[in-house]
């Protein structure tokens, strides 16, 4: 390379950092610094007031393993019956069930949307509607539909003879978490379907031609050709959704008013921090949640690393 060009390369590199500086500063300010402070608060007895005048003091691991800490194994009923234990259980159960259902339904949606039929473009738009509706709005809409006395769901089920008395979908501990799952599935299956659809549309057509000419049954083609080919995209979509499901908050806050039976990890954090004014304890809980989600993120990055390396490779 001639000297002026390499000089130019150096100038470009320098400019890269200048271009990146504002974004990195903002991210440091809104993500890095608050995260560090939150972790620090988890070792203190901070409250909403003492944050302002810095009058909190360090309490070591009290918020984690102390008698009122998040990991309290000393209670008679056991850890899984403490509030944080229940919140962890609820969140994991919610995440596992809703993400599985969304993946299955999303796959069905995507296969249907990938088929040829009249009005396909219109249906694809219709599928985006639940995704576009704000979570708070969908929670309210479903709260009304699932209303114990006047809800349309109870009326419908009674009309069909499936139930005889109205059910309190969002209040009854037996159903509340499943009502949350239902609304989440309604809201995010479209997102899943679109991600899977995008993967389906990138599949080579000739593969299917060959399979069809050979007279191989479509179901077999699906399991032998389609599924293995879209698996990487499917994995990414599943982990995306999983990360989202693990931090669920607004849906539960509105649909079931953050009740004990549906309290999520994020809901617990917000309740301890804001409603009960135990900022230290809440911060400890949020740090645990951060670590759980961080582990999932690492998993995601590991899976998609090969494809993230894109720019370097070409």
């Amino acid at each position: 390379m001639s000297p002026p060009l390499s000089q130019m390369t150096r100038a470009r590199r320098r400019s890269a950092w200048v271009f990146l500086a504002p974004s990195l500063l903002v991210l440091l300010l809104v993500a890095g610094w608050p995260l560090a402070r939150t972790i620090y608060f988890s070792f203190t007895d901070a409250s909403l007031e003492s944050i302002g005048d810095a009058s909190y003091r360090l309490v070591g691991l009290e918020n984690y393993v102390g008698p009122y800490g998040v990991f309290n194994f000393g209670t008679r009923a056991g850890f899984w019956h403490t509030d944080w234990g229940v919140a962890m259980r609820n969140t994991l159960r919610f995440a596992a069930v809703s993400v599985s259902l969304e993946t299955l339904l999303g796959l069905v949606f995507a296969l249907v949307l990938n088929a040829d039929f009249k009005g396909r473009a219109l249906v694809r738009t219709a599928v985006l509607v639940p995704w576009a509706i704000p979570t708070i709005v969908s929670a309210k809409m479903w709260a009304w539909m699932l209303h114990d006395q006047y809800g349309v769901i109870n009326a419908l089920l009674k009309g069909l003879g499936l139930i005889h008395a109205n059910l309190a979908w969002t209040a009854d501990p037996a159903y509340a978490l499943w009502a949350v799952v239902l609304v989440d599935v309604w809201k995010t299956t479209p997102f899943m379907a679109l991600l899977i659809l995008a993967a389906l549309q990138m599949l080579p057509r000739d593969c299917y031609e060959a399979a069809r000419v050979d007279g191989i049954h479509p179901v077999r083609v699906f399991f032998k050709v389609t599924l293995p080919l879209i698996r990487p995209a499917l994995m990414v979509a599943v982990i995306f959704r999983l990360l989202d499901a693990l931090r669920v908050f607004d849906l539960i806050y509105v649909l079931t008013s953050n009740s004990e039976d549906t309290l999520s990890m994020s809901g617990y954090v917000r309740r301890e921090m804001v409603d009960n004014n135990y900022v230290g304890l809440g911060s400890a809980a949020s740090t645990v949640l951060f670590l759980v989600i961080g582990a999932c993120t690492l998993l995601y990055l590991k899976i998609s690393r090969t494809r993230l390396g894109g720019p370097e490779s070409h």
Binding site: A36, F117, A132, M145, F249, S266
Partner: protein, 281 residues
């Protein structure tokens, strides 16, 4: 596309599935619209269409002074537009640097940006609470723009970077030969061709900011500075036991209609943006 004819039973099954999918996706919103037009005792009849169309619920949203809904809409609009503008301005230059310039640590930076977008919001809640108070951003609608950057900026940078990276190499070569400065290249060469990606990311950032709830609920206490999601969650009736469902549905329909309009117009772009991050990677 398919050169063979489907069996009529298969066609029937396909169209039945399509109908079920449409019903599943659209019915809840349809029912919210229907409910919003009902008033009085009709609300509790769970009929699937209104006997008479009443605009009472809509009118009451804008006439009650203790719940200034119009003000909340304007707050939301202001925050969302501000967030979109800020993330695009910051995102364009960052994406150019990450997508077109070779330098050490680029992969690591991209990873960091991506992992920030996966942050659980509550993980920064108490730290942000302190920051917002220290900066005097707390309890102001415009103050919400700052915490919203945590989810819009990483996403914007990520999608714009994947877009910029796909553009042909020749694009900037001529400009480099002409001795154009890096800033000049971004403004004169890249900005004009980046419009599609800017529209997509702008839309998605707008929708994300418009729908945000946790920060808006935690960092704004004054009624006059609330955004619409919080406003809807707080609509209440005369007493604790009388929930004004008609009014809640009217508000829900109003804040959702602009989003549905955006989806109808920009369907392709939105889908492209959503999948860009996850599938193309």
């Amino acid at each position: 596309m398919t050169p063979f004819r489907r069996h009529w039973l298969a066609s029937l099954a396909l169209y039945a599935l399509v109908a079920v999918i449409c019903l599943f996706c659209l019915f809840p919103f349809y029912f919210a619209v229907v409910t919003s037009f009902k008033s009085g005792s009709e609300l509790f009849s769970s009929s699937l269409w209104p006997q008479s169309v009443s605009l009472k619920n809509y009118v009451s949203l804008f006439t009650l002074s203790e719940q200034p809904f119009l003000r909340h809409i304007l707050n939301s609009l202001g925050v969302s537009c501000g967030v979109v503008a800020l993330s695009l301005i910051l995102g364009v230059t960052a994406a150019y640097a990450l997508g077109r310039i070779e330098f050490r640590g680029r992969g690591l930076l991209l990873m960091t940006v991506l992992s920030v977008s996966m942050f659980p919001q509550v993980a920064v809640l108490s730290g942000l609470f302190e920051l917002m108070q220290a900066l005097h951003f707390y309890n102001h609608w415009w103050g919400l723009m700052l915490p919203y950057m945590i989810f819009t900026l990483p996403f914007t940078i990520w999608v714009l970077t994947t877009f910029v990276r796909e553009l042909p190499k020749e694009l900037e070569e001529a400009a480099i030969m002409d001795g154009c400065s890096p800033w000049g290249i971004v403004v004169k060469v890249f900005l004009p061709v980046m419009w599609p990606a800017l529209v997509t990311t702008g839309l998605l950032a707008f929708i994300a900011a418009w729908n945000e709830f946790l920060f808006a609920l935690t960092f704004v206490l004054d009624n006059s500075d609330r955004t619409v999601p919080v406003s809807i969650s707080l609509i209440s009736g005369a007493d604790k036991y009388e929930v004004p469902w008609g009014k809640i549905m009217a508000a829900s329909v109003l804040v959702t209609l602009p989003l549905i309009a955006l989806v109808l117009v920009f369907q392709r772009k939105i889908v492209g943006g959503l999948t860009a991050g996850a599938v193309k990677g």
